[in-house]
Subunit: 240 residues, 2 copies
């Protein structure tokens, strides 16, 4: 569980097409960095839980949140970060948003070579509080459709009051890095291979379960197709 | 997707038995906080991916990492945080470690009431670099056994050189909060219930797949029982 372990790695180099700064350059284990903006989109598309890191009163704070995105912008729920925004983005308002998908365990012949197969994206930027009602609606829709495709058109949309009560943050997807580890352990040709131990991968598979109806539903309320179709299917799209 | 959404929530109040500080007090949505140290342990036991937030050169950095723990201490791989530790824990070395388990989607009658069912623990503390070889070995064993129970006794253990090459961080479990959302949407008795729409939960189920043998294995190398027994079983223990 040394350098090969998830915990021993930092994000890879900056992607082609994404800006290169001191924060995302100068990383160790460069070989695991990916260089394509498409791969950032792929990680964003595969997951739906982000960990938003902000500094509040000098202390780092890491909060789970759902997100949506388009090619240029990541949208996040913002009440959480409002405390950091209060001090003003100009001050120290930089945020780091990390999205991680665990794909399985890498079981090696030695403790040191154990690892986690995963995909991870780190995005840096100064969150912007979305105030324009049109952009807010668009951002919320991206978020909603990413989490629960089809619900936006099925359920009641946000009222003006609800919209006002929702804090939405926007982060440009300009500065980011993606890190991917996949495949078998790295010690297949090391002296440890002679130990004769079993080694390989133990995949993690996340699927949607059967919809659980709210007890208050009127008899005969059918599960709409856009929900029922997800049952049994993979959540967090598997790696290619 | 307003206040009820995962993104709209911050960690609940401090647990009984855990220290109460400004960072973990003064939270909104107090009703979702849990007050038992046992529940912190439960979240730690259920997951195995943590997001470690540190400040590096004034910028928050959120890095996924695996972890292990005992009653008092959380152990994390530390190469990642070494950059923040270089400036000295005395300076601004506070870290926030967040562990989140997504349990499903809460599909409400309005966009605003949509939410994620989840369990999340936030731990604050100044990471300590573990240098004592005995504690290091013990911490790595906790980490290894949490991730892959049985492997510590099955595979080759760390050599002195490997131990030296592994940076392990310890964080006391003194200051933490746990946040849990479970159950159906909250709008079952709201005016929206009259819309006649389907509403409920869509659970997320994460299981271990079948072990994938490394191609380099000698013919007939059997999958050991402690690995094969996991196939098909739930990863990230489900909520009670």
């Amino acid at each position: 569980m040394g350098e090969q372990n998830m915990g021993g790695q930092v994000a890879g180099p900056v992607h082609a097409g994404l800006s290169s700064t001191a924060r995302t350059r100068h990383r160790r284990l460069r070989e695991q960095g990916r260089t394509d903006r498409a791969e950032l989109t792929e990680v964003l598309a595969a997951g739906f839980i982000a960990h938003l890191g902000v500094i509040v009163d000098g202390t780092p704070m890491v909060v789970p949140t759902s997100y949506g995105f388009d090619y240029e912008t990541l949208y996040l729920h913002g009440s959480v970060a409002s405390r950091s925004l209060q001090t003003g983005p100009e001050a120290s308002g930089l945020a780091c948003v990390t999205i991680t998908l665990a794909d399985g365990l890498v079981l090696a012949r030695s403790v040191f070579e154990h690892a986690v197969n995963y995909r991870s994206a780190m995005i840096y930027g100064v969150p912007r509080l979305v105030t324009d009602p049109e952009e807010k609606l668009r951002g919320l829709r991206l978020l909603s459709e990413h989490l629960a495709p089809g619900q936006w058109d099925y359920v009641r949309r946000p009222s003006r009051k609800e919209l006002a009560a929702t804090a939405l943050l926007a982060l440009t997807l300009d500065e980011a890095s993606v890190k991917v580890r996949s495949g078998p352990p790295d010690d297949g040709e090391s002296p440890d291979a002679a130990l004769g131990l079993w080694a390989g991968e133990l995949p993690l598979i996340t699927t949607w379960g059967d919809p659980v109806p709210d007890q208050g539903l009127a008899d005969g309320t059918a599960v709409p197709g856009h929900i029922s179709v997800r049952a049994g299917s993979r959540a967090f799209s598997p790696p290619r």
